[in-house]
Symmetry: C2
Subunit: 424 residues, 2 copies
């Protein structure tokens, strides 16, 4: 559908559309964060949203290979009525709607990438009210949400005070290490000009993430001379250093609030059962909502690696060479928080409650980490009414009409409120 179709009714609807969401339940039907007339328009978009979801999901976006989905999403933004759509150098899709005022932009964002490697078969299937496919909730739903909101804003000729920037980011997942949103905030055309950031990235519209869990990830490369398992018996073995390091890491005490965690996650080394290896690598994941706690944890992990090396070099012969460790930073997501009293947070909680969700604050590691760490107000919200098995091939999304639309209403209500939306 195009925005032109409902344009004639725009003036009449616009006033109703921009009413505060906390009066929204007064409208007919199920709870919504939107006034009844606008919710009715959202309801009319249900089939289109499902069609968009399927189309986006079935366009693969493996890590570091989001180009095909980016091209699709850019075209879909144009079809939604956004005329100024571009791709930046990192691969993010940017769609700008002008504001009534110059000044910092309000970013509404979802991520393009999935965790699924190239070649993963992706076909959306339906089972009752569930749609099933890898990535359908994480984050095809976020992208489809941006599109329907853009269509409704355009259809109702709604203007926003700040310029509104719809963004599809690359590299949110895993090794992507937030590269898209990092570029947006530090190098792209809008660096330094973003006033607030709303990330749409989960299937539960009751979950408002205002705390960004930071992470530091290392690959510890333990190196040694290696040698024949029989002939060179007695020389140092990087296995020993790695094992002592794991032991040291596992003994680190961490605070429980904010939740601070670590894990030795991936290990690899050696080529043959009859050779002392010359290299063993160990990947370590560390997370905390508190940058100071994360820094202390990181120092303790690196000290454990050094202690493992020292213990191995003291325990066995270094005549053929000693063990060393080279820590490589393979992941770096800064921690941050948007205070609970910030209007973006209170607005989100009220919108979620108005739509009938058990609204609650949570912490996670999402695109919002970057603005949070830079002191830019930011949230990550859900837009669905549930789903599960995220990051697995069994991922699913609940799409029962009423609750699904209630979930979709929350984000649009936040946008309307935060931007002092008004009819053109």
């Amino acid at each position: 559908m195009t925005s032109r179709r409902v344009m004639g009714r725009a003036a009449a609807l616009a006033l109703a559309a921009c009413r505060p969401f906390d009066q929204a339940q007064a409208g007919a039907g199920s709870p919504s964060a939107l006034a009844a007339p606008l919710h009715a328009q959202l309801d009319a978009q249900y089939d289109q949203v499902i069609a968009d979801l399927v189309r986006i999901t079935e366009t693969p976006a493996p890590p570091f290979k989001e180009a095909a989905r980016a091209a699709l999403f850019a075209q879909m933004l144009r079809d939604a009525g956004i005329t100024d759509v571009t791709l930046d150098a990192e691969g993010n899709v940017l769609g700008l709607g002008p504001g009534r005022e110059e000044g910092p932009v309000f970013v509404v964002s979802a991520h393009l990438d999935t965790v699924f490697p190239e070649g993963t078969p992706i076909k959306v299937t339906r089972e009752g009210e569930r749609l099933m496919a890898p990535g359908i909730g994480d984050d095809s739903l976020g992208l489809a949400s941006l599109l329907v909101w853009a269509r409704l804003l355009e259809a109702n000729a709604i203007t926003t005070r700040q310029p509104l920037l719809f963004v599809g980011t690359v590299g949110e997942e895993g090794a992507g290490d937030l590269r898209g949103v990092r570029y947006l905030f530090t190098k792209g055309a809008y660096a330094g000009r973003i006033g607030a950031f709303l990330s749409v990235d989960n299937a539960d519209a009751g979950r408002i993430v205002n705390a960004g869990v930071g992470s530091r990830r290392y690959r510890l490369a333990f190196k040694g001379p290696g040698g024949h398992s029989y002939g060179a018996f007695g020389i140092v073995n990087p296995m020993g250093a790695m094992a002592e390091a794991v032991r040291g890491i596992h003994a680190i005490a961490v605070p429980t609030a904010p939740r601070t965690t670590y894990a030795a996650t991936v290990v690899a080394g050696g080529t043959s059962v009859n050779a002392i290896p010359d290299l063993v690598t160990l990947d370590v994941d560390m997370r905390s909502g508190d940058p100071a706690a994360l820094g202390q944890l990181e120092a303790a992990v690196l000290a454990a690696a050094d202690a493992g090396v020292a213990a191995e070099n003291a325990a066995r012969s270094t005549v053929a060479g000693a063990i060393t460790v080279e820590p490589q930073l393979i992941g770096d997501r800064p921690a941050g928080m948007t205070p609970g009293e910030h209007s973006l947070v209170t607005t989100a909680l009220r919108a979620s409650q108005a739509a009938g969700f058990a609204a609650r604050l949570d912490q996670s590691s999402t695109d919002a980490n970057i603005p949070m760490s830079l002191g830019v107000p930011a949230l990550t919200i859900g837009t669905g009414a549930g789903g599960g098995r995220t990051h697995s091939l069994d991922e699913y999304l609940e799409t029962g009409r009423q609750r699904f639309l209630a979930g979709l209403s929350v984000g649009l209500a936040i946008i309307l409120d935060h931007t002092d939306a008004a009819p053109r």
Copy 2:
């Protein structure tokens, strides 16, 4: 060349050929373990041996894929005058020469397989007196040695007291785990009918291996529930059990005589930096010339694995499941020894010395481990005059004529002596 060509001279040469090797140096030219007339025939075979070496080496024989080289070697044995050549069910090549008496056979063996995986480019190159190619010494040289000895025995119409069985074995290297020789001694047509065993398997004719180092190799699979590195923090991690196991293994005290060794050699586990793994595997190599010491070491390693599991289950939560370990035996080479006073050993030492080598006893892990462990007299000897970089792509073999032929003379002298060789 065919054996027929020199057949006419056979009667005259045969007596000289069978003279004891310790009088051999009296002949013209460089030291040899053979009487001068037979050494002169060996010398005449030099170019053929080099040609055989190149042909065998350039016929790939990756682990578990020795069929092409086996077919070639079978044909070459037939060309050498052995009429009864067969392949057994395991893939070994067997070439039988009848003895003057019925009874146990004397096996002279080399192995067909290399350590190099399928697809490894193998082309023999020359640099002065060195021939270079992966596997050229280990064990193309052994196979080529068997061929020239067979040709000379046939050419001189020499009969042996025992039936003489030339064997090309499969699976000597690494994961092959001696499968060829194991089949020969325990399941094949000659099981229970082998009186002595001579393995030809290194490029140093001064090295007489009369002690078989036994090995036991395990893959220890540490399993646990796995989970999200952040969400599931606090649950048991198989990394912890593996690390404690390595630590326990590295603390095991072993005897120095006979040399007894262990090594944690290959480790693998985990799929993503943000997931606690559900599986970590650790390969452990254990070796000793003493079966009792090897058994004690094995028990200590398995106990260390169990202790690692217990420590991890005690240290973290098992609410999602506990850590277990499944030890899988992936290598089993029995230890054994042929006493230094056995005639096979003293004969080998004298032959090596007669050829001008610094003859010495050594221990290793070779095809001879199996007969040694069964109480069958067995040796592994070298036939070359040096080489190096075995098991690497840079492997080379010294082929300077006089020393190379001296090296080749040793094994034939042992055969002649051990079988009471006589003219037909």
